[in-house]
Subunit: 177 residues, 2 copies
């Protein structure tokens, strides 16, 4: 048992709030940001809604709303162990970062569509319309690049793990979740 369980919990909570604050800067709502940060940083693999509420010291209602968002975004998966009556929430480990960027990709796609619609409304034969056309091209380019980058991540991850295990100790690369 740690020197002080309470101190650890407090430090964790403070850190979760700090992490959540950065997440919120990207447009994520406070409570989903907190739940995500908590689920990532705390040690459990699965959390019941009760765990999350107790861990974050917030109401069950707040958790309900937050996990709904996170599950919708694919960052959290809802599971159910037979013989229990509470849902379990799990970070969708392997696909986690694909999902995370997936949200960005969706935004980029909506942006692209909106700009394309603007070209129709404004007309491409005018300065504004021409700027919109270039904007759309850029978003399309960026979206493709981002998608490619994400698809390269698993290989890169393995490469990093291999490099580390050989430079520190000869130990097979381990998965984190």
């Amino acid at each position: 048992m740690p020197v002080s369980e309470d101190a650890d919990r407090t430090a964790l909570l403070r850190y979760v709030e700090r992490f959540a604050l950065v997440l919120r800067a990207s447009g994520i709502a406070p409570m989903p940001a907190r739940v995500f940060a908590f689920a990532l940083a705390d040690d459990a693999d699965r959390y019941t809604a009760g765990d999350l509420a107790a861990g974050l010291q917030v109401s069950a209602a707040a958790i309900s709303g937050a996990v709904r968002q996170l599950v919708q975004w694919g960052l959290l998966a809802r599971e159910r162990e037979p013989g229990t009556r509470s849902d379990l929430y799990v970070l969708d480990d392997h696909n986690l970062w694909t999902r995370f960027v997936g949200a960005e990709l969706d935004t980029l796609e909506r942006l692209e569509e909106t700009v394309a619609a603007g070209m129709e409304i404004i007309g491409v034969d005018r300065p504004g319309g021409r700027r919109l056309a270039e904007t759309r091209d850029f978003f399309a380019f960026l979206r493709q690049e981002l998608a490619d980058a994400v698809s390269r991540w698993p290989a890169e991850r393995d490469r990093l793990a291999a490099a580390r295990s050989s430079s520190t100790r000869a130990r097979p690369a381990g998965r984190s979740g």
Copy 2:
């Protein structure tokens, strides 16, 4: 002169609001989003604060705050024509998309720092800490990939322009703004 100047303005304003709404989903505040969308979609190359206020039908104060943000982000440049007393705001054309993604890169960097700090606080020898380590690696990777992608854009833009001008008419590629 268009059939109806008013109808065009209304359509533009409606579109600006729609565009701004998508921008806001990425965490940009309403008024900066509107000013950016307006400056991009309307036909002028430069706008005075008065132009923006009149065009968007909002107060001068609102413009003041919005352009401050946009200038800080580097999306808008402030200029001053000698012999006039009003500032001119210009979309920082050539670097525009570099800047746009630059904001994302900054967020990614803050995220990376925050996660790295978390590894210290939590300890990398625990499940939560190990997840944070992988998270940091991913953000570092993504940041690099994104920076690379942006640096490839100018060449890609020219390639697109060249392909288009040869497939439609034999005309030198034109710049949009």
